[in-house]
């Protein structure tokens, strides 16, 4: 049972060939390119959702920050679609891999920090010391602020990995418990099954919320630096 629990997080392969790249590229198939003035229902709903999200997310940004609109929208669409597809039974979720999430977090965080140092050097350096700090505390606080800056990409990646992995593990465990309890006590199995349904609904919400949190934090780091 222990091996089966973590088997779904192993990198998938078919006939010895790794198919992770195909799985990562798959969500793009679900977002067709709009080619007409008035599109079909799927594309119209997607366009409406993207407009709603982008208006809300980019409202705080100035002109420089809004050049990141495509990146931020692609990010939230990719993470939310990947997380939701991962809730299908026996599917592989790329966002459970820390390497994948670090691969998203580090370039985006570094991009925001480098943007800040490039266009607003004094303001970016000033972030390392909060206003009104007492004189004796300055050296320590600069060190603490530097550490908190450097930890941001790690926190972004680990937050997404841990939330999605934990949710999948819980679904596995409670699903296994439901199956095991069917022969022992039908009532208990039924209660466990209700818990499984509620957990799955929660995981749908977590999938969308985590995508939103990841993108929002990148957006906030960008806002601090532009």
């Amino acid at each position: 049972m222990n091996e089966n629990l973590f088997a779904s997080f192993a990198a998938p392969s078919m006939m010895g060939l790794p198919i992770v790249v195909l799985i990562v590229m798959f969500p793009s198939v679900l977002f067709p390119t709009p080619s007409r003035l008035i599109n079909n229902r799927l594309i119209s709903i997607q366009q409406w959702l993207i407009q709603l999200t982008s208006k809300q997310m980019l409202a705080i940004h100035n002109q420089k920050g809004q050049t990141w609109a495509l990146m931020l929208m692609s990010l939230i669409l990719f993470i939310s679609s990947t997380n939701l597809l991962g809730l299908l039974p026996h599917s592989f979720t790329p966002t459970t891999q820390l390497s994948m999430n670090l691969g998203m977090a580090i370039p985006l965080w570094a991009g925001t920090v480098i943007t800040g140092f490039r266009y607003k050097t004094k303001a970016s350096l000033a972030h390392f010391l909060p206003q009104g700090t007492p004189l004796p505390l300055i050296p320590m606080l600069v060190v603490i602020e530097t550490i908190s800056l450097l930890i941001q990409p790690m926190a972004l990646a680990v937050r997404l990995t841990a939330n999605i992995t934990a949710g999948h593990l819980l679904i596995h465990l409670i699903g296994g418990a439901t199956l095991a309890l069917i022969n022992i006590s039908a009532t208990t199995a039924f209660i466990t099954f209700i818990i499984l349904i509620l957990l799955t609904i929660l995981e749908f919400a977590v999938a969308l919320i985590q995508a939103y949190v990841f993108t929002l934090l990148v957006s906030l780091y960008l806002h601090d630096n532009t």
Partner: protein, 76 residues
């Protein structure tokens, strides 16, 4: 196919790849540097462990040690 790729991907995305995402390219360079450092350190530690294991088992000949040193020095 390449012409189609250039027309459909590169032409609309050129201002993003060349201007808007300059800092993100630097970030990707930083990430690849981190990946390279971690992988080379992992290979070096594995080679060292293999060397220690071989010498503890009494397999440590001059050739084995030279091979391990060669592996470590090339960062493999």
């Amino acid at each position: 196919m390449l012409q189609n790729l250039v027309k459909s991907v590169w032409v609309p995305m050129k201002p993003y790849y060349t201007q808007a995402y300059q800092e993100i390219w630097l970030g990707m360079g930083l990430m690849s540097l981190i990946v390279y450092k971690i992988r080379s350190a992992d290979k070096r530690s594995k080679a060292l462990k293999g060397k220690i294991f071989a010498s503890s088992k009494g397999w440590g000949t001059k050739d084995t040690i030279l091979l391990s040193q060669d592996t470590v020095s090339h960062g493999l």
